[in-house]
């Protein structure tokens, strides 16, 4: 037997795996639009209510939820913004970036997820009647499936634009029979967005590089067509984007793109990252943003990456970073 003959076997094995992927996919699954219950502020949810979440799953609530488990800080913030803080019975361990009143409300609640997989026992012990999970593996899909199999209604939320954040807030409003509160929150958000848009309208749109993180020399930024890229755009910048999948950008591509503004999102978590440290990085010193001193740390990254009601505050901070003169 020659090794040549074996090559097709090797590849056919992967071909079979690929076919398996296709075979396992359900034919009707596609990302459906959230919020299928009436969006009207006057509406009242009648239970049992069936909602469609961001993963396209249909979730039925038998009665108005009284015990809510949140698996992501954004969901905690949305619940609290809808006056449902006291209905929370389980929250993530992560406690940074909350407003003081929210922090106080969740301080003594059981922790149901820290860094690893969710604590299924703790969730069962909390006896929830609604679980708010995050999509795109922020909550592991295996955990979502397991919790659903245990018989809990699990709403998976994964907004990919400002409109979808609002739609998700309305979705939770429908779930909690809090449409009026949801309408108030999304209305205020729309006002903030409109104000930012009005402020930056007509201004130059500087080429803006948003640094998400740098790890072992690999630079991560806003991916092509990502939520973050759309925020930069709304904030009046022209986003320099990374790869669609990995969100990474090669240093030479970044140098070629020559950013006029560099926003340091990672400075919110790492004190060693600053305009000075960026200027010292090899290859970065020639970028226009560095030579003109427009490298801005953004502590509000924590809001920008948390798709809840305060994401618009993050947007406003981002717009200030890109156009400081317009907000003075």
């Amino acid at each position: 037997m020659s090794s040549r003959r074996r090559v097709p076997i090797f590849f056919s094995f992967f071909a079979v795996l690929t076919l398996l992927v296709a075979a396992c996919a359900s034919p009707g699954t596609s990302p459906a639009l959230p919020g299928t219950v009436s969006p009207s502020a006057e509406a009242v949810t009648t239970y049992p209510a069936t909602l469609t979440d961001d993963a396209g799953r249909e979730v039925t609530l038998e009665a108005e939820p009284q015990r809510i488990v949140s698996l992501a800080p954004s969901n905690t913030e949305i619940a609290c913004a809808l006056d449902a803080c006291d209905q929370l019975v389980g929250v993530p361990e992560y406690r940074k970036g909350y407003l003081p009143d929210v922090l106080a409300a969740i301080e003594d609640l059981p922790v149901v997820v820290s860094f690893g997989p969710v604590d299924r026992e703790a969730i069962v012990a909390a006896e929830p009647d609604l679980i708010l999970a995050a999509g795109n593996e922020l909550t592991a899909s295996t955990d979502i499936e397991a919790l659903a199999n245990l018989g809990y209604p699990v709403l998976v939320l994964y907004p990919e634009s400002l409109d979808e954040v609002s739609a998700d807030i309305e979705l939770i409003g429908d779930a909690l029979n809090a449409q009026a509160e949801a309408a108030d929150v999304t209305g205020e958000m729309a006002d903030t967005v409109a104000a930012v848009q009005a402020t930056v309208a007509g201004l130059d749109r500087p080429r803006t590089f948003y640094e998400v993180s740098i790890f072992e020399g690999t630079i991560y930024t806003a991916g092509e067509d990502s939520f973050l890229a759309s925020l930069v755009e709304t904030a009046g910048g022209e986003p320099i984007t990374g790869d669609l999948r990995t969100t990474a950008i090669a240093l030479e591509d970044l140098v070629t793109a020559d950013p006029e503004v560099i926003v340091l999102g990672d400075a919110a978590y790492d004190r060693t990252i600053s305009a000075d440290s960026v200027a010292k990085r090899p290859g970065w010193d020639e970028m226009t943003a560095v030579t003109e001193g427009r490298v801005i740390p953004l502590p509000e990254d924590i809001l920008i990456t948390r798709p809840g009601p305060r994401v618009v505050d993050g947007l406003e901070a981002l717009a200030r970073a890109i156009h400081p003169e317009a907000f003075d």
Partner: protein
Amino acid sequence: MRAAIASAEAQPLRIGLTLTRTVVVLGAAGVLLALLLVVAVAVGSAEVGIGDTAAILGRRLLALPIPETWAPTAEKIIFDIRLPRVLTAMLVGGGLAMAGTVFQVLLRNPLADPYVIGTAAGASFGAALGIVAPLVLPVLAIGAGTSWLGLGVVQLFAFAGGLGTVLLVYAVARSAGRVQVITLLLTGYAISSVLAAMVAMLMFISGNALRAIFGWLMGSLANAGWMALAFAAPLMIVAFILLLARWRRLNLLMLGDAQAASLGVDVEREKLVLTVLATLATSAAVAISGTIGFIGLVVPHLLRLVIGPDHRLLLPASLLVGAALLVVADLGARLLPGGGIPVGVVTALIGAPFFLWLLRRSQLLRVELSA
């Protein structure tokens, strides 16, 4: 023994295993395992009393007429979360130890483990592909329809990847109808390297799913459930029965290929059958738990020192002791601070130093014996 031989004419010579010894060894391991089952199910982050635990288990498993005095959540925690997890630990630990026993004979190497000829790399690749593929192709996004027989794409891919890779390695290593151990090991190493590179690539493009891949690679029982058990248990049981039925041939293979052949073993065919059965068990274990190390290496090695190499006893004993060890390790993983660290971390953390100790001790033992 000599006295017994002197009176050999009266009664036939007793060879090797006696029924008493078998019953004592397997009985002790079985009782230990049963005790561990109750303890492991009784302990967890949510509090359920040991009395309630025993009562729930008695009612649900043994159908005893015990009145329901506990909260429904307690029953859910015991029966839907902890029990499948503990049973999965048993199944995986037992399966890996059993497969390790077989691979140590097949590869004529006491340091072989069930992963060495490609199972781990293949299953890892399958799992990583299963995790990343739905993110790359949104049509595969989670939702109704991604499970098949109650199993996720990830488990199925891991299973197929493990089994497929070993068969591939075996086919490539085969030459003139024969498979030599060294060729098999080197082929396994080469193909594993390619797959490891592909896993690294998948990890790079995985985005938020990186954590899921990472957790899988470290080995975790967090995703245990009845459906996964229902998938893996029959495979494991069939593999165990068929392997145990081949205990004689496993013993004969320890004499070397030539002598095994002259004692009636169709050596090449037997090696293939054993490889497939052991890999079936390994892949089933890996599919539902990720790559958990050291159980498949340490347990057979240890047991061979303690109870001897006769596979008639060694195989079932490995199954029971491997099961018990992983239950203990998972108990550690659940109770240690850190929100459920992967059990593979615990087995490596405990297993590796233990193995070193064992290695030193057996060297000393050998020196003493030869002195």
